[in-house]
Subunit: 199 residues, 2 copies
């Protein structure tokens, strides 16, 4: 690599990717230049294109190329149920399950006073404004199952109460395919206290 400064720079630039160290970056750089120059060109252009176009949806704060994202703009999605999530990655995960047909609101974070993330950073004002204009009947609090996630859910629930909107939280329990032996005790305790009538 010492023989080509532009390759050295490409290797260094590749290490900015999460999970990519010096060795993998070197392998990627050589692969791009040796065997997939078209792929490399496509990657560079896609990156510049995304940097230029991607913005936040004015309504749900998810990533979007347009003012209103495709989910918010779609007339196939019911606006009666609003799913509040922390990140765009959470939207992807829920969309991949195919079990939700409503719309989203993306907080882009979770309450964490120590990191300087308060209600303002999470766009809760925008959420209130949206609730005034819309006809949301239920808010699903789909924040993480962590302490910060729970506190964030509590904040959103307080807002929902002001508007007399029902709130629900994702069920906690044993994951599909989970063997009791390997489930941690906290999850098991939640699964027991939240047990449901067997029909």
């Amino acid at each position: 690599m010492s023989s080509s400064p532009s390759l050295v720079e490409l290797v260094t630039a590749l290490t900015c990717l999460p999970g990519v160290g010096q060795k993998s970056a070197q392998r990627m750089a050589l692969y791009l230049i040796e065997r997939d120059q078209n792929g490399a060109r496509r990657l560079a252009n896609a990156t510049l294109d995304a940097l230029e176009k991607v913005q936040h949806c004015k309504q749900c704060r998810n990533f979007s190329d347009t003012d209103l994202c495709e989910i918010c703009a779609s007339d196939k999605r019911g606006s009666g149920t609003l799913c509040v999530v922390e990140t765009p990655a959470d939207v992807l995960a829920i969309e991949a399950s195919g079990a939700f047909q409503g719309t989203y609101f993306v907080l882009l974070g979770r309450l964490s006073p120590l990191d300087g993330i308060g209600p303002d950073q999470l766009g809760l004002d925008e959420l209130e404004k949206y609730l005034v204009e819309s006809s949301v009947e239920e808010i699903i609090l789909a924040t993480s199952a962590t302490v910060e996630g729970d506190i964030t859910a509590q904040f959103v629930a307080d807002i929902a109460r002001k508007f007399n909107i029902n709130t629900s939280r994702l069920a906690r329990g044993i994951p599909l395919g989970g063997e009791l032996e390997y489930v941690d005790s906290g999850t098991l305790s939640r699964a027991l206290s939240g047990r449901q009538q067997y029909s």
Copy 2:
């Protein structure tokens, strides 16, 4: 992701990288757009820059930004010993060992008639031409320890013989830190037959 076509395209483009599947690509794309836009811009520019600038060194066929690579152009490298390797990655590996101060010749492949790779593709003509002009005294055959690598080494050795140049091959044996119990039998057999006087 369904909400932003340019993000979808970035994810697809990232999957061209070796070892990166759909899930990792998604994580990388969100990371670049959410948290490291400067890194993303640097990556795109470095890729385009490398695509434009990287060529093969006229002398050793390694990657280079200039006609003559930094190793060939350096006056700190002895031209008496020539190390013949298969790929630019091999040059990096040897350079990282710090144990070689001569120059390289990169075959950019190994003989593999079934894949249509013959002596012409490996630049053996260029190697001969270089040997005529230069003062190489020893050629280190540093091709892979595989059947194709051995055959390739044989071809290069035949050329060296024409010019009355000494040839050597990288030592085969037990790798540093290798425990006998886990070394494969072929390697062990080579290590036995190639045993050296204990001083």
